[in-house]
């Protein structure tokens, strides 16, 4: 089960520093194929920096990052592009291109595929837009005309355009109202099941953690302090971890009947 072949992401000794400010030091993390890994940690503990390092938006100061068994540090551009086509990234506010309609946004990654005629491309974009639960007439609107929740869904549709194996999500439910957030959780759960995704999920939202995650990694003190199932987290003796999972919100989320076992 935990053989090297099952690991889609393997990080060893990662170090990230901004001048004198060390964000990560000796960080190790594994992510298995087909799992939803929740990455939690206080504000400024470097969750976004970790995500950006993995997807190659930031060159780490030291350490080794393997994705699909390939070392991503010092990889040449064409090979990187080949691997990057197997993952999708959804940024916090969707990061949609504001000058394009939703459909055109979703079509952007599809344009890189040779031999895809425009009609098929449009149909595939519309399919993804429908799959993330957006109404068909949303496809012709511009991002500025949409609510935050709809922009996030559209960002997800674009991240899913090429049927990636891994999806990276940075705080997908931040800024959504509770109803919108749990709708997003449900959508993600259905998509994970239908598309067989592995998900790297950065979040603050305890409800999302309980609704989606198979495993959790806690970032603190510049490294991954603990990994394991949500039940394992309850036993971790670290002040932040205890406050986070045993605090009033943690208790409330735990009681809610929406664990991954309850699918």
């Amino acid at each position: 089960m935990t053989g090297a072949a099952d690991m889609v992401i393997r990080i060893r000794g990662l170090e990230n520093r901004f001048g004198p400010h060390v964000v990560h030091e000796g960080l190790d993390l594994d992510m298995r194929r087909g799992e939803v890994l929740g990455v939690v940690g206080g504000s400024g503990t470097g969750k976004s920096v970790l995500l950006r390092s993995i997807v190659g938006l930031r060159r780490p100061s030291a350490g080794r990052i393997e994705v699909f068994g390939e070392d991503m540090t010092g990889i040449d551009e064409t090979r990187h592009a080949g691997i990057a086509a197997r993952w999708g990234v959804m940024f916090q506010d969707g990061a949609l291109f504001s000058s394009l309609t939703l459909r055109e946004n979703v079509e952007v990654p599809l344009r890189a595929i040779d031999g895809l005629d425009p009609k098929t491309r449009r149909a595939l974009a519309d399919l993804k837009i429908a799959m993330v639960g957006l109404p068909p007439d949303a496809a012709d609107t511009y991002p500025a005309e949409l609510s935050g929740g709809m922009r996030k869904r559209a960002g997800l549709a674009r991240a899913l355009a090429l049927d990636p194996e891994i999806v990276f999500l940075d705080e997908p439910t931040a800024g959504l109202d509770p109803i919108g957030a749990s709708a997003f959780d449900r959508l993600m759960r259905d998509l994970v099941q239908a598309l067989g995704l592995s998900v790297f999920l950065v979040t603050h939202d305890l409800d999302t953690l309980y609704a989606l995650c198979d495993r959790v990694a806690v970032l603190a003190e510049r490294r991954v302090l603990a990994t394991g199932t949500l039940d394992d987290m309850l036993a971790v003796e670290h002040p932040w971890v205890r406050d986070y999972f045993h605090g009033p919100r943690g208790r409330a989320a735990r009681r809610a009947p929406s664990g991954p076992g309850g699918r």
Binding site: S98, S99, L110, I113, D114, G115, L116, K119, T120, R122, A123, L124, D126, L127, K128, I129, A130, M131, P136, A139, A144, L160, L162, D163, D190, L191, Q193, A194, L195, G196
Partner: protein, 370 residues
């Protein structure tokens, strides 16, 4: 990836195996076309390892297309791992019917032109409204000076006026130099070099000094006003002011406009002086007209009314630039894109409006014989 068994008793069978995805669509489409035509055909997915949404979509879309053409396409032996995907795609198939693009019809074109014209009318009315707002707030502030934001006024005078002095002076100096040089070249053949003084004085004092100053200030300040007010609008600071019962027109618009009305004439004067200095230096170098002679000639030969005609336009330009800039800032929506769009549109509009107004002034002064 595929084997075809065309002579199967229950119609042709296409067996897919391995991985099928986005890059195989063309091939898959051809294979499916190959087994169409019979009343019944089968696609077997038994050996399939990975199927993506695009391939699933194609299978289902072709199934529908073949059904309409009279062929029943059976998708058989779906492996368990592909089942949820196929179901998810089937559930969302309606959204994926490629809708045709709406072409641009003459009626839509007409509609668009009409909207533009109406927008332009609304824009002019808006500017007038801001002018009225400015007048009302100004009279208010004159009656109750305590409500006036004096610190802001001083700050904006520095930003708009003092900091623009170097660029305005340099620009005018160079214009003076160019005029003297061009004038010398043109006038020398006629032995009329001495008239270069009038040429420089009249063109700079009457027109160029203030017009070019206004254009520079429009570029510098209208954009700065839009960006400053617009980014406050974007971050809901303007709304916060309203809830705290601070009037944004008092706090943001009035000091900026007053600062411009005060400083633009001064900047125009700076431009006039520095343009004359540039012209005098070039006349000395090129034509041997000494600065003393230039001065005498300037005082004797040039009617001071030219200075008045030039500078009287300054407050009007100032109001135009300020109003266009502040209004554009207030129009900014909640996206960074609209901030950028409004900023550049403020600059273009301000410069255009300044030039049009200058033309109107020329006609006016010609009519009254100044």
């Amino acid at each position: 990836m595929a084997t075809v068994e065309p002579e199967h008793p229950q119609g042709p069978v296409l067996a897919l195996d391995g991985q099928i995805g986005l890059t195989d669509l063309d091939r898959l489409r051809r294979l499916l076309a190959g087994i169409g035509g019979a009343p019944r055909a089968t696609v077997s997915l038994a050996g399939l390892q990975r199927l993506d949404c695009a391939a699933a979509w194609l299978l289902l879309a072709e199934q529908e297309r073949l059904r309409q053409a009279g062929t029943e396409l059976v998708i058989a032996s779906v492996p368990p791992h592909a089942l949820p995907l196929i179901e998810a795609v089937r559930a969302n198939l309606d959204g994926a019917e490629a809708k045709p693009h709406r072409p641009l019809s003459p009626a839509m074109l007409l509609d668009r032109i009409g909207r533009r014209v109406a927008d332009a009318g609304a824009f002019l009315r808006d500017l007038l409204q801001y002018l009225g707002l400015f007048a009302a707030r100004l009279s208010n502030a004159l009656r109750r000076p305590r409500s006036f934001h004096l610190t802001a006024l001083v700050h904006h005078c520095e930003e708009v006026g003092l900091r623009a002095v170097p660029i305005v002076a340099l620009m005018a100096f160079l214009i003076g130099v160019v005029l003297a040089f061009q004038g010398a070249t043109q006038l020398r053949p006629f032995g009329a070099e001495i008239f270069v003084v009038e040429l420089i004085a009249i063109s700079i004092l009457r027109e160029l000094g203030i017009l070019l100053t206004a254009i520079i200030v429009a570029g510098r300040t209208a954009s700065a006003f839009t960006a400053a007010i617009g980014s406050m609008k974007m971050r809901e600071e303007i709304d916060a002011m309203r809830t705290l019962r601070i009037d944004p027109a008092d706090a943001l618009v009035l000091p900026r406009l007053v600062a411009l009305v005060i400083t633009l004439p001064i900047l125009g004067l700076v431009a006039d002086v520095s343009g004359l200095i540039g012209g005098a230096l070039m006349s000395w170098a090129e034509l041997g007209i000494s600065p003393a002679m230039f001065r005498t000639r300037l005082i004797e030969g040039t009617d001071p009314i030219h200075v008045v005609v030039g500078l009287v336009k300054a407050p009007v330009f100032a109001l135009i630039i300020g109003i266009v800039g502040c209004r554009a800032g207030m129009q900014v929506g909640n996206s960074a894109e609209s901030l950028g769009r409004m900023t550049s549109s403020a600059v273009v509009t301000a410069i255009f409006a300044v030039i049009v107004t200058d033309a109107l002034f020329s006609i006016l002064f010609a009519q009254v014989g100044l």
